[in-house]
Amino acid sequence: MKANSGYHKGCGFDSGLWEKLIYECPDYETGGPNSCYFSKKYTSIWTIYIITISATNKMGSSSSKPLYVDVAYIVEPDPPMNLTLEVKQPEDRNDYLLIKWLPPTVVDTRSGWLSLQYEIRLKPENAADWETHFAGQQTQFKIRSLYPGQKYLVQVHCKPDHGYWSKWSQEGSVQIPIDFTTKDTTVWIFVAILSAVICLIVVWAVALKGYSMMICIFPPVPGPKIKGFDTHLLEKGKSEELLSALGCQDFPPTSDCEDLLVEFLDVDDSEVQQLMPAHSKEYPGQGMKPTHLDNDNDSGRGSCDSPSLWSEKCEESQANPLTFHPEIIEKSENPETNIIHTWDPQSISVEGTIPYFHRDGSKSSTWPFSQPGWHNLRSSYHDITDVCKLAGGTADAPATLLDEADKDALESSNIIETGGEEKAAEQRKVGSFHPKTEQDTEWLLPQKKTPFISTKPFDYVEIHKVNKDGVLSLLPKQKENSDQTEKPEAPETSKEYAKVSRVMDHNVLVLVQDPRVQQVASFEESAKETSPSPQQNRAEKDQASFIATQSNCRLQLGGLEYLDPACFMHSSH
C-alpha cells in the first residue's frame, strides 16, 4: 500500500495568485514510520497548507480528510540550553537560588522573529512531585524558600507564543548549603507564636476576672464629666496640673472656660443620708451621689473603691446615676446659660449649674441656690483655676470631687463672709461646674431664694471627689467625715437646702428650698437668670445622663429614699 501525502498550498502571497500546488511527500523516512517530513523549503509561515493522505491498493484508493495547517501555530522548539544553578547568599537579604538558561540555538529570539516563554520545575532529589514555576520571557529565575542541606533537581522548557512546549531540558542539580536561611520567615513565625500566646493569656485573664474587671472598668459610681478633666491628675492629687489641664486660665471665665464649670455633683449615698438626716428623706433622687463624707477629701479613690451607697444598692445605677456626661456640658452654647459667662448670679445660667448643696453646716443632698451665696460665690469663682483645682484635688472616685467641693463650698461660704481667699478658692471649686449645656436644664437658682439667701450664708457642699466620669461627690461643707447620722449644721444658719424638686426636660434639676425653711420655691430659672451653682452645673451635666440612665431606678440608699428625678418631674410641679 502506498500512501501519498500531498499538500495543497493555500493562500500564497508571492505571486498574488491563488496557487494550487500539490507536493508529494518528499521524505517518508526522517519522521519514522507513517510519517512525512516537509522541510523548510516547502513551508512558509502564515500560509495555510492542506494535508491529505491517500491510501491506494489494487482495489482502489481513498483519501483522508484534509488537515489544514498553518505552520505558525504548530512550532515546537528545542529545549533551552546551558542551564546553570547558583546559590546566592547576600548579606542583607534572604538567600536564594538563581537559575539561568539560554534559549535553544535554533530559535532566533534576538531578532524578534520568535519570542519564547519559559517554565522551570524543581524538586528535592528524592521527592516525587515537581514544583513548577512560570518564568515568562526572561531567561532567569530566583527561588527562595528551599530546604537547607537538600539537593535539588531543576529543569526548564519553553514554547513560542502560539505553539507547543518543548521537551524538558537536561536536569541540573544543586546542593543547598546548610546555612541557607530564610530569616524573615523565622522572625514572622516567632512573632506569630508570641502574639498567639499573648492573646491566649489576655483571653484567659478576661475570662477569669471578667466581672471584677468590668467593675473596675465601669465603675458603678457615677460622676460628672468635665471636659478636659483628667482623672489621672485627680488621682495624683495634683490639682494644679488638673486645673491647668482643664484649661483654667483666668477668671472671670471666658467662653473657653465655660466647659470648665463642671457640674460636680457627686452625691454619695451614704453621705446623702448624713446630709439630710434632719430632712425628709425624700430628697429628689436626682441621682446624685451623696457626697462622700470621707476624711480624705483628696483621696484618690478609684471608682471601684467608692463607698457610694448608690453603687451598692442600685444595680442600674452602677453606671453612674449621677453621671454628668460631658456632652451636656459641651452642649451648652447659650452664653446666657453659661455660668462662667457672667458670673453674675442673676445671669448665671441655671442650666449650667449643678444642684448645689446648700448646707449650713448640714449635709444635704440638694444644692441650695442661694442668691447671696452665689453672690458670695461669685467672687470665689473668679478664679476658675482655683475651682478647677478644687475639683482637681479630688480623687478619681466619683464622689470625691464633689465632696471636696462641697466641703470647700461650705467653707467658702464662710470664707466669703470672711473674705477668705482660700475658702473662696474652695468654693470656686465647688462652683466650677460646667454650665449646663442644655438649654432646658434648669437648676434651681438661688435667686428665688433671695429671702432665704439673704438670711443665711450659703451652705456649700464641698467636692469630695470626682470620679473619672467627672462626677463630683459632694460633702457637706463642714463635714469632713462621712456623717451618717447627722447633718452638719451651720450654727447661725438655718438648714436650708435646695433639693431637687423635680427634673425638667432636658435634665434640668429643679431645686427647691429645704422644706424646713418652707420655701418651696421651685427655681426653674432659665440659665439666664440663675446664679451659678457649680454643683448645679455639674449635676446638670450629669443629670442628663443620670436621668437617662436612672429614669426607672429608684434609689434605695440605705434607707434614704431618693426619688427618681424623672418621677419627680412628673409628680411634682
Binding site: C11, F13, W46, Y68, G112, W113, D161, H162
Partner: protein, 200 residues
C-alpha cells in the same frame, strides 16, 4: 512606566515606551484572535459543511509581507511598519461587519460576540499605536496614505445558506488570527531592532 507629565501640551512618548505599549496590545490582539478562532470552532464544530468549501484566500493576502525570517530581515523598519499598518487598516471594516452579522448566527453565544468585540478593539488600539510609531520613525508620513485591502466577504456573511454563512465566519476568524500573528511578529522584529534591550 514613563508618561507625559501633567499639563504638558506637546508631549511625546518615547519610542521605547511606544514599542512597549504596542507590543502589549499586539499580544492581546493575537490572543484575542486565537481565542475567537477556537471559540468559533468549538461552537460550530458540528457544522462541518463549511470546512469542505475549500480554502478562501484572506483579503489581506495581497499585502506584501515576509514569510521567512530571512525575508523579514531584509525588510526595513518602515516597510515592516507599513505592512502592519496596511493589515490593521484592512481589518477595520470587516471586523465591524463580522460583529453585526455574528449576532444573527444561530445559537450564537455571548462568548463569541465578546471575543469579536475584543478583537475589534485591539485592532483599533494597535492601529493607533503603530501610527504613532510610524510618525516617529518616518516623520511627515501620513498613515492614512497607507494602502490597504478592500474586503468582499460581506456577501458570504449575509448568505441565506447557513453553510455559506458559517464558512464565511470561519474564513474571517482564520484570517484575522493569522494577521494578528503576523502583525505581532513584524512589530517584534522592528522593536528588537530599535530597542534590543527589551527582552529580545
Amino acid at each position: 512606566m514613563s508618561g507625559c507629565p501633567r499639563g504638558s501640551t506637546n508631549c511625546q512618548l518615547s519610542l521605547t515606551e511606544l514599542f512597549n505599549r504596542a507590543g502589549l496590545i499586539a499580544q492581546k490582539f493575537q490572543t484575542a484572535a486565537m481565542d475567537l478562532y477556537n471559540e468559533f470552532h468549538q461552537q460550530y464544530s458540528g457544522e462541518q459543511g463549511f470546512l469542505s468549501q475549500g480554502i478562501v484566500p484572506c483579503h489581506t493576502a495581497l499585502i506584501p509581507s515576509p514569510v521567512t525570517k530571512e525575508q523579514a530581515q531584509s525588510y526595513t523598519n518602515e516597510q515592516l511598519l507599513g505592512t502592519c499598518l496596511s493589515i490593521l487598516r484592512s481589518w477595520e471594516e470587516p471586523l465591524s461587519h463580522v460583529l453585526t452579522e455574528a449576532r444573527k448566527l444561530p445559537r450564537v453565544s455571548r462568548v463569541i460576540l465578546s471575543k469579536i468585540e475584543d478583537v475589534e478593539a485591539q485592532n483599533m488600539h494597535l492601529l493607533q499605536g503603530v501610527q504613532k510609531i510610524m510618525e516617529q520613525v518616518r516623520p511627515g508620513s501620513v498613515a492614512e496614505n497607507q494602502a490597504y485591502s478592500t474586503w468582499s466577504g460581506l456577501q458570504r456573511l449575509k448568505s441565506t445558506s447557513q453553510d455559506t454563512r458559517l464558512h464565511g465566519f470561519h474564513v474571517e476568524c482564520r484570517c484575522v488570527r493569522r494577521d494578528a500573528n503576523k502583525v505581532n511578529n513584524l512589530l517584534n522584529i522592528v522593536k528588537c531592532r530599535m530597542d534590543p534591550s527589551g527582552g529580545c
